[in-house]
Assembly symmetry: none
Homo-oligomer: 406 residues x 2
């Protein structure tokens, strides 16, 4: 039996409530004082909760592998990140709050500078000198105005930061199996469009015409006079969390990419009155009755980790800790506090280190730790396990999984 | 995506250096004093290093499985030991420093004593009374002189210890899918040659003629008057560590089998001026600039374990510890000290117990242990994991793996 069939058979719909709090990039490395961000933070509430919880460490993908946010979140939502790959074009569109449906082809684009050299179009700046975002918006809206559709395929340009934009193609018979046109090095021609599957030919024809028309519109520009396309991809077919786990799932997240990822697995996106953690908690409280699974995402731990700002990351952890009693007042049957991946300030980047994982429920075998830290988690009673097992573990503790076999 | 494709995509070539020290058969069991060999050893340098390292335990194959040196080393080098099986004939030849190429068929041979009983050739001693190695050498060189080739296939006999020898067949169209001729019990005829794949027929014909000629040469011998053949096999196709992980890898090992295993995965074999640990370190130092991955093998821990000599094994560990500062002076970005399998003196044999594993790097989450021992490793922050994940983990800590997904 495959994983999907297995959980479809065992999952039971009940009223108990699961709350998954993702402090993005939570795990860290020891800083100058010898403590990680989580260890350096003053977290009396989490420490107190740890003493009634089971602790462990999760591996987002596998040993030594640093994940992007796409696969690491899929794993945390209970989906095998090798089975469901999310293309870069899809993530780019999701990150810009573009709605994607089955059959859409999603692409990541760069404005670039090309030069005609003896009849050859040569890329002289792959990022068009990192044009200002303002300029990007202006160019995207000009392109959108002139190119609404190509050969019956609806085209959507969405500006990102600096030279980056997202492109969505919507129509019948499209396929995402196209190779990048970005030659990766300056001084080369853009690569010709090539499909790696037989269903890709129509898409090649559409995008070839699209590129000719884009070139016409941008020809007069000094810097952003052409585009390079990368990460052609389609929304993978992912069963919803309801189909797979019978969880009525809702997402509370402020950043578009995480909202997009949650939507991919069929979560409802709950409205927020502001971007702060307090606003997220208000929303949680307001909708507490309506769902059985909540995903609450805190972004700033990761952002400050990526900035290398140890103490700012510490502060975000402390801020969450102060609000924890409000969460506990909702009396979730199961509460998990974890990260999707580690983002140690020391590395200023995502890393491969496993995530601290705290699982509170009346049904845990707690280990008597009085501390929520990477080390306490390494010694925790849950041991180390793949992040994809987090949802089954939460469901079990919420008594939402039937017995396997007689 | 399979494991090979996955790492080929994520691996990045960088200048950082990884040193993998394998103290063969390091792990042990408590002796009379209640301590294992590693615990009984005086190892101030490793203990001090442990306090800045991450500790864990690795399983060479899986729970309860005792590995031979072939699969346990393959796993440590990052190759799934179930995907790449190394036949006994290949190992025997490698162990005797015989060079093997793709397409060669490698075999393990025994001199034996046969008797003509009513027209049947019956094995009366499968080991020819364990003839002296001296005699073995003489017989092999006689065979080699008379039988240089059979049906256009080049034949190479290499004497081993006592009654054992290695046979290599080199020519077109050979296959390793032949069954053993050893009947496993005395009083039986040697088994007829049989191929288990259709490409094996030519090899059957070649070996049948070879056996007739061997019998002719040995007929007059009192004890070693025939041979039994086992472990027909071919070199598996293994991508090199450079192809798979983009590591420029070199091996420092004194024993032929380990040198052979390292060559199988494409490592360069570094020259040694002697068989001692000091010589290995001199070689390491001399070639430190030329590679990004070093495998340094210490054999004696295993040999003394197999002899059941607890204190001699302790001494080898202590000898390595004394030399550790010389290794640290090279400033490796990542240093791992581990075993390929356990060889407890108590068992006088390889065992299934997981291997102590110490990983030093500036990017570990250390656990504050002040001790390198099996127990400290069982409580270490790396947890217990398959040995095949050691290379990904080392590469991650040396910042040689790209992010997976966006």
């Amino acid at each position: 039996m495959d994983r999907e069939a297995f959980f479809k058979e065992l999952a039971e719909e009940t009223e108990s409530k699961i709350l998954l709090v993702v402090l993005d990039g939570l795990g860290g490395l020891p800083g100058e004082g010898g403590k990680t961000e989580l260890e350096a933070a003053w977290t009396p509430n989490m420490n107190q909760l740890a003493s009634r919880s089971a602790l462990g460490l999760t591996h987002p993908i596998s040993y030594g592998i640093t994940p992007g946010s796409g696969p690491s979140h899929l794993a945390l939502f209970g989906y095998d990140p090798f089975q469901y790959e999310i293309g870069r074009g899809v993530l780019e569109n999701l990150g810009l709050e573009v709605e994607l449906k089955k059959g859409d082809v999603a692409v990541r684009g760069n404005f670039c500078t090309v030069e005609d050299q003896n009849g050859h179009l040569v890329v002289v700046d792959r990022r068009a000198g990192r044009i200002p975002t303002e300029k990007n918006r202006e160019l995207c809206s000009r392109l959108q105005e002139v190119i609404k559709e190509v050969q019956g395929v609806e085209v959507l340009f969405t500006p990102g930061m600096e030279h980056r934009f997202a492109l969505r193609l919507r129509g019948d018979g499209l396929a995402g199996c196209l190779e990048d046109t970005d030659p990766q090095h300056e001084g080369f021609e853009p690569l010709p469009l090539r499909a790696t599957c037989s269903q890709g030919e129509k898409t090649v024809a559409v995008v070839e015409e699209l590129l000719r028309r884009v070139r016409d519109v941008l020809k007069g520009e000094e810097r952003a006079n052409y585009v390079l396309l990368r990460g052609f991809s389609e929304v993978p077919h992912i069963p919803s969390m309801y189909e797979l786990f019978k969880l009525k799932a809702a997402a509370i997240a402020t950043y578009p990419m995480y909202r997009g990822l949650a939507r991919l697995v069929g979560m409802d996106l709950l409205p927020l009155e502001g971007m702060k953690l307090e606003h997220e908690l208000e929303t949680l409280k307001r909708h507490w009755k309506d769902y059985t699974f909540f995903y609450l995402h805190v972004k700033k731990t990761d952002s400050y980790g990526e900035d290398g700002n140890f103490w700012a990351k510490v502060k975000v952890i402390e801020e969450f800790d102060r609000l924890l009693p409000k969460i506990m007042a909702l009396k979730p049957e199961v509460l998990v506090i974890t990260g999707d991946h580690s983002t140690p300030s020391k590395l200023k980047a995502h890393s491969w280190h496993p995530n601290p994982f705290l699982l509170y429920s009346p049904y845990v075998r707690w280990g008597g730790e009085q501390l929520f830290s990477e080390k306490a988690c390494a010694w925790g009673t849950l041991g180390q396990f793949p992040a994809v097992e987090a949802v089954p573990l939460m469901m079990a503790h919420a008594l939402k999984l039937k017995k396997f076999g007689a």
